[in-house]
Symmetry: C2
Subunit: 130 residues, 2 copies
């Protein structure tokens, strides 16, 4: 993933991207491995990780560093917020306009060159709520 290599659109890479774009959930690398394996039974987990990294560097997918032990990935590259169920780990999108007062915070930390932010709500999802 260095500077000026040519990125090849391999069969594996294309299918990983397709699968990730086909869901609105926010799967872990392992989830994606299972999804892709249905179509490419011989694919290895290492290839999944390498491609998710490549695709997120290219900006074609989002690597979500939400809480929990595993990273999650999102085929929707728009900037949006998430809510995570602290019971089952599910991550869902929150559909709303960006909150301007958060961007105002950028000024308060002017020692830093701010490049972005993450807002994540925690809660208990309807399924776990019984």
């Amino acid at each position: 993933m260095g500077k000026k290599e040519i990125v090849r659109m391999t069969h594996q890479r294309k299918i990983i991207l397709e699968e990730l774009r086909s869901v609105t959930s926010h799967p872990t690398a392992d989830d994606i491995y299972a999804m892709v394996k249905r179509r490419l039974p011989k694919i290895s987990l290492g290839t999944i990780y390498r491609n998710l990294e490549t695709l997120s560097v290219l900006g074609l997918v989002q690597k979500l560093e939400v809480g929990g032990t595993q990273k999650r990935f999102d085929g929707d590259i728009s900037n949006h917020y998430h809510i995570r169920c602290t019971h089952c780990g599910t991550v869902e999108d929150i559909f709303t306009e960006p909150i301007a007062s958060i961007e105002d915070l950028f000024k308060k930390v002017d020692k830093y060159k701010v490049t972005g932010y993450r807002l994540e709500l925690f809660g208990v999802c309807p399924q776990c709520e019984q």
Copy 2:
């Protein structure tokens, strides 16, 4: 960490808490291990992890599930925001009043029982900025 056990304030636990409260940084378990080891050379990393979990369940410390590969801990249990340097991993506090429009979001996700949220800015710190 079950339901009704009596929690003992052991020497190790007390010193871990003291050390964590003595800094404003947001150390990883490993950092805390090094700090505590200066006072208790025989302490084990397992004890550090077990106590940080216990203390955070008790609400005496905060487990910060910020991005990056390691979890970080905060002896300041007030709700505040953080900024993380994407280059060196340092996490600093942002001193500001809570942003009301974030709490307004809670209503938009009324299917969930919202219990809290996290706001984390990313950027490059002054030290890394050269």
